[in-house]
Every structure is written in structure tokens, then in C-alpha cells.
Amino acid sequence: MDWGSILNNTLQGLLTPTTLAFSLAALGLAMHFGFAGLLNFGIAGFMAIGGYGYAIAVLTFGLPWWAGMLFGIVGSIIFALILGIPTLRLRGDYLAIVTIASAEIIRLLFLTTAFTDVTGSADGLFGFNTRTDGSGFQNANPLPAGSYGAGPFTYNEQTLWVLIFGIIMLVVGVVLLWALMRSPWGRVIKGIREDEDAIRALGKNVFAYKMQALVIGGVYGAMGGIVYATFANVSPGVFVTSLTFFIWTSLLLGGAATILGPVIGSILFWTLQAFLTNVLSEVAISGILPVSTTQASTLRFVLVGVGLMLLVIYRPQGIFGDKRELTFVK
């Protein structure tokens, strides 16, 4: 076992574009579930609309990168509105089923061969970050080519630019969510989570508040998808229901009703994934366990599932959550 390289690879997992993208999506889920009590199991759908919206706007409509990102965000707002009108009056578990179904509808629409010219079907879309006419995200990279950082945190100029962009988005997102949640609006949202009828009795329009929460969380999800798209191809194989479950696991790990919990939960989740990937493949190669490397990489997802179960059973408030502010009130 080469512990040096395992440690190195695990440390790399601390700060990757993936971690940043999923932190943003987990923040959106914290808005939906942690604060507003909405059981959204369609966060992958919001991410898909963000990522695909950005890619399609750039490739098909020829928009510059920042306009393409706005396009993805507008798309997620429209999706939230369409999703929210029929579903927000449903009870929790119904909402879970409907949102998971909606995310799957979105994914199948991107997968079908009927719109291949726009969506790329099963192959997905690529080549939208660097454009020949200079309007791409990487074309706007101010960093000169080269290698930056040290040790496990060594990046080329392209990755570093993605990281800088992702960190800025994440910091803005965290501050915004923090400000929102300590505002009067945030208190109403938390009140809806605890007791919807009580808030209604105070004369508040619960439906409107829930819709606002759904839209805001959806924009976070879309930003997660966009940050993901700034460094990777978008394809229907990415935005599957498992992705939603992984983000839920990250969220519950950190604490659903907290601001920094989702971020730290995501970092822990992906660092742990990096660690397990490396350890398990070493275990398989060195023959400590009689498994193939493919089987070894399957094992870490088994551990994710078991981890999620134990977490929800024994520590539903997460690492940073407050037991008094339980989110499983209904």
C-alpha cells in the first residue's frame, strides 16, 4: 500500500471543481429541504438545466459564456415555476416522488434522439468552454499558461480559473443564503417548515413563500450544474437520480438546516470518495481482498448507501446541525 499517493490523492479531493459544483447544489438543497422543508429529490434536474442551458446557449445560440450562464439560470427559474405550481400543495412524500420524476423527465428529454442537433443525445455536449471566436469561458481566463500551487494542490491555468470562478460563486452563494436566512423572509420560511398552518394563520401566503424558496434553491442547483459544465462535458449520464442521492448524502452529512453544513458535507463526501477510491483499488491490486478493481470501485457506493442509512437513523441533524432544529418534523 502506497500511503503517500493515497494521502496525496485524498488531499486533492479537498478542492476540486466537482466539490465546488456539488457544494453549490447542496446549498440549493439546504434551501429547499433544510430551511423550507420541501422534499426536493429533483436537484439533478435543476443541475441538468443549468449545465445544459449554458452549453446550449453557447453552442446553439452563440451567446458569450456569461450570457449562456444567465440563460441556464433563467431556465432553472422557469423549471421551478412549472414544477412548483402543481406540486407545492402536495405533502412531503408525494413531492419527493414528483420531483424525482421531473428530474428524470428532464434527463430523458436531453437523452432522446429527437433533439440530437441541440442536446447531443447520449453523447452530450462539449467544446463550449473554449470558443474560436473568443466568447468562451476559458477564453476569458486572465491567467497566463503555466502550473500553479504546490504538492497535491497543483493546477494548470484552466483548472485554476474554474476553481477561482467556483469559489467566488460558492462564497457569494453562502453569504447570500446566510443573509436570506436571518432576514424576516428566512424566519417565515423556517416557520413554514415547522408548522405550515401556523404561518398561514398569521396571514402569510405560504404557497408564494414556498415557490420563492423553490426558485432560489433551484438557481443554486443550476449554478452547481453550470460550475460543473465549466470543466466537464454535460451528458445525460451525469444527471442521474444517483447524483441527487449523493447530494442528499452530502447535505445530511454536514447538516441540512445549516449554512456551512452543505459545503463541508460536500467536501467531506468527495474527499472520502477520493480516499475510498484509492484505498479500495490499492486493496484490490495488492490482493488483500480477493476482488477486482471494478468490484473495489463498486464497494465505495455500497458504503455511501450504508453511510446514508446510518446517518439518517443515528444523526439526522448531521455533523453541524442542531438537534432542536430537526428537519424531519413531518
Binding site: 422534499l39 452563440g62 405550481i85 402543481p86 406540486t87 400543495r89 402536495l90 405533502r91 412531503g92 412524500d93 408525494y94 419527493a96 416522488i97 414528483v98 424525482i100 420524476a101 421531473s102 428524470e104 423527465i105 430523458l108 428529454l109 437523452l111 432522446t112 434522439t113 429527437a114 440530437t116 442537433d117 443525445s121 474560436t132 471566436d133 437520480t241 444517483s242 442521492f245 442528499w248 448524502t249 445530511l252 476482488v291 471494478t294 468490484q295 463498486t298 464497494l299 457506493f301 455500497v302 455511501v304 448507501g305 450504508v306 453511510g307 446514508l308 442509512m309 446510518l310 446517518l311 439518517v312 437513523i313 439526522p316 424531519f328 418534523v329 413531518k330
Partner: protein, 432 residues
């Protein structure tokens, strides 16, 4: 013309291409001898001749479809046609038989045939036509066939859905691991029927029996202890998601990522009536589903445990106060739900066909759609919902692309919730 891909010259080039095309069109009217063609701006093209006994046929419609491109043309008076395509690759060429003269049809390979480009930019596609009956089926026959397939699929779905709905009714759990219970049935049939080479009539009952045993194990090992801890329904649901992930990847750990087949999956389909063709496996599958669902209905309506199950679904506290052993009934419900899900898995393995580690996940949402359509917690509602979903999926592929047929079912799910959130047979109190 690579110039087309450059964005600056794009508009200019397209303008030239369009004027060139209109020029061709004008020529086409003036000189009707030229081959009827579309897509001349592309270098690659598919072309052919439509002739019968050396005599050209004019005005036959030809459609080319593939790689995200679609174009059509009609043959000129020499029977010639040419359709330009943006890139070489594989395309479907369709000869519209309704534009052929009366009594003439495509004799070999069907009206739609695949064409693949070789090293050159041109490929010729000629259809063998002659006197014969057309393979065109009437819309009515097609609808009947789709209905039968839909009922077949719906019955299979129903086997899984009633179990999910009963578990929900008695425990309040929306079980996301139900899809894996379906997969486990199919995998067990694979182990006993293929790996251990047992005959199917032994292997399948063993698979269903062990699936039911797995239901017992899940209740005894996980769900009952968790119920005793007093977890809320949302927590239970997320626990089931964790279980679903763990089980799914454990199955992948053992059987890998490929697709396996059960014996007899490729039984030939025999035309029964109209356009309806079923294999013996399909017929056995439908009969088996009907018998099992019938037995289940009898159990639920007539037996003591069945009545107790319905009582718990209605009001668990009242049922417990009336002396019903709730835990015992729930244990029975888990065993039955898992057994039926296992059988559904075996049938789903034949319907797809194939056994894959994520096959249960693929229909989990359809099972949920069936249950929600019928009304969460109602057993017969789930059955009705399953038939509606099955028929809807099969008939919708007459109208929408086949790879979007699940989308139709899921959209209907959302629309039904909009007007009738409690589902078709559900009670109003169930909505929040």
C-alpha cells in the same frame, strides 16, 4: 464544404447555398429531366432508383433520417432520387409505400432500411419492389396490438406496485428500495436457472420464495427496529434510499455491469390476430400475473390477515387497539410485497429482455407512477394505476418517439396530481 462550419463565413455561405438551391429549383421546373434531389449543399449523399421491371416510377416519396438530420424528396420521371446529408454515417431510408402504384410493395427488407456510408461520399440505396401485399397495418390493428402489450407490461408493473402500495399503507414508508427487490428476483432466477442449471419451473419458484424471504429479512433486520426507534416517514424514506444504493451496488459487485439473459428469452413471437404478435413467454407471463394478482386480491379481501392489513392501512392505532398484531401483519405484508416484486423482476427480465444490475431502478419511477396514480396506500388503486401506466407507455409510442415513452407516463403522473392529488382510488385525507 468545410467553409460552412466557420462562423464568420457561415451566413454568406448559406446565402449562396440557398440561392444555388433556388437556381436548381428553377432549373428543375425548366428541365424536368434532372434527378429530383435535396440537400445539394452537402458533399455526402444517398441516392437511388425506383424501378419495377426496368420501368421507372415517378413521384415516390423517399425519406432519409439519422444523425439528427431529416430530409425527403420524390423520384423524378426516370425514377431517380438523391438526398444530400451533412455527414457520412448510418441513416434510415424510408420508401413511402402509399406513394407506390396500387398492388406494388417493397418485397425485401421492409419499407425502412438502414444505409451505411463506406469510404466514399456517395451511397446507393435501391429497394426491391414488385407486386405484393404491403406490410402496412391499419391504425386500429396497431392500437389493439399496443393495448395488448400495454396490458402485459401493466400486469407486470402491477405485481410490483401493489406490494409497494401495501407497504406504504401499513407502515407509511415510500420504499425507494422496491426497485432493488425487483432486481433481486431476476438475479435469483439467473443464479438458479442459468448458473445452477435448474429447470425454469423450479428455478423461478425458488427465486420468488427467496425474494419473499428477503422481504422477511429486511423487515426483521432493518424496518422493524427502525420503526421501534420512532423515525418519521421522511427519515424512513431516506433510509430506503440508502438501502437502495447499497443493494444496487452490492448486486453490481456480484453480477457486474453487463446484461445476462434467462433461458427462453428469445422465444419467437407468433401473430395472434391483426398486428398482435406474442411469444409463449409473453402469454405465460400474463397468465401468471393474473393468477397471482387474483390470489392476492382474494387474500386481501377474504382472509383474516388480509382484512387486518386493510384495517391497518385505514387506521393503524385503531387496528392495534382492536387487538390486531400490527407487527405481525406488517411482517406478512413485507414478505408478500417482496415475493411479488421478485416475480415481477423475473417477468421484467423477460420483457426488457435481460438482467442488469440497475434494471429495477429503471422501472422504480414507473412503479411509483402507478402507485401514485391509483392512490398511495390502496392495493387495487395501484393495480389500476399500473395498467393505466402500462397501456399509456405502449400506446404513446405510436405518437411520440420510442425513447420518450417513459416521459409521457411521468408527465401524466404530474398532471393527475394536479387535478386529483389523492389518485384515482385514493382518499382525500391523504394529501397534505
Amino acid at each position: 464544404m468545410n467553409i460552412l462550419s466557420s462562423s464568420h463565413t457561415n451566413r454568406l455561405a448559406r446565402g449562396i447555398a440557398i440561392s444555388f438551391l433556388s437556381f436548381i429549383a428553377v432549373l428543375g421546373i425548366a428541365m424536368p429531366a434532372s434527378a429530383d434531389s435535396v440537400g445539394e449543399e452537402y458533399e455526402a449523399a444517398i441516392l437511388g432508383n425506383v424501378r419495377i421491371d426496368g420501368e421507372p416510377i415517378q413521384g415516390v416519396r423517399i425519406v432519409v433520417d439519422g444523425n439528427g438530420y431529416n430530409a425527403e424528396t420524390v423520384t423524378d420521371e426516370k425514377g431517380r432520387w438523391l438526398i444530400g446529408v451533412p455527414q457520412t454515417g448510418t441513416y434510415n431510408v424510408t420508401l413511402d409505400e402509399s406513394t407506390l402504384p396500387e398492388g406494388i410493395a417493397v418485397l425485401e427488407g421492409g419499407a425502412t432500411q438502414e444505409v451505411e456510408f463506406g469510404r466514399t461520399d456517395r451511397v446507393t440505396k435501391n429497394f426491391f419492389i414488385g407486386e405484393g401485399t404491403r406490410n402496412a397495418t391499419s391504425l386500429f390493428d396497431q392500437i389493439v396490438a399496443r393495448l395488448v402489450y400495454g396490458i402485459n407490461f401493466g400486469l407486470m408493473l402491477g405485481l410490483a406496485a401493489v406490494g409497494l402500495s401495501l407497504v406504504y399503507g401499513t407502515t407509511g414508508l415510500s420504499n425507494f428500495a422496491h426497485g432493488e427487490m425487483v432486481t433481486i428476483g431476476a438475479v435469483l432466477a439467473l443464479i438458479f436457472g442459468v448458473v445452477l442449471q435448474l429447470p425454469l419451473w423450479i428455478a423461478i419458484p425458488i427465486a420468488v420464495g427467496l425474494s419473499a424471504g428477503f422481504g422477511w429479512l429486511m423487515d426483521a433486520g432493518l424496518w422493524r427496529p427502525v420503526r421501534k426507534m420512532g423515525l418519521g416517514i421522511v427519515q424512513l424514506m431516506i433510509v430506503s434510499i440508502g438501502l437502495s444504493l447499497a443493494l444496487r451496488y452490492i448486486i453490481q459487485f456480484f453480477i457486474g455491469g453487463g446484461t445476462e439473459q434467462l433461458p427462453g428469452f428469445d422465444e419467437p413471437r407468433v401473430t395472434l390476430f391483426g398486428a398482435t404478435a406474442l411469444s409463449s413467454t409473453d402469454l405465460i407471463s400474463m397468465a401468471l400475473s393474473i393468477v397471482v394478482i387474483g390470489g392476492f386480491a382474494y387474500w386481501l379481501l377474504k382472509t383474516k390477515t388480509g382484512k387486518a392489513t386493510r384495517a391497518i392501512s385505514d387506521n393503524p392505532d385503531l387496528a392495534a387497539a382492536s387487538g390486531i398484531d400490527v407487527d405481525k401483519v406488517i411482517r406478512v405484508v413485507w414478505i408478500m410485497a417482496a415475493g411479488m416484486a421478485g416475480l415481477a423482476g423475473v417477468l421484467w427480465a423477460y420483457f426488457r429482455p435481460g438482467i442488469k444490475w440497475d434494471m429495477g431502478t429503471q422501472i422504480l419511477l414507473l412503479i411509483f407512477a402507478a402507485v401514485v396514480l391509483g392512490g398511495l396506500g390502496t392495493a387495487f388503486g395501484a393495480l389500476v394505476g399500473a395498467l393505466v401506466v402500462g397501456i399509456l407507455i405502449e400506446t404513446s409510442s405510436l405518437l411520440i418517439p420510442a425513447d420518450l415513452k417513459y416521459v409521457g407516463a411521468l408527465v401524466v403522473l404530474i398532471l393527475v396530481l394536479l387535478v386529483r392529488p389523492q389518485g384515482l382510488l385514493g382518499k382525500k385525507q391523504r394529501i397534505g
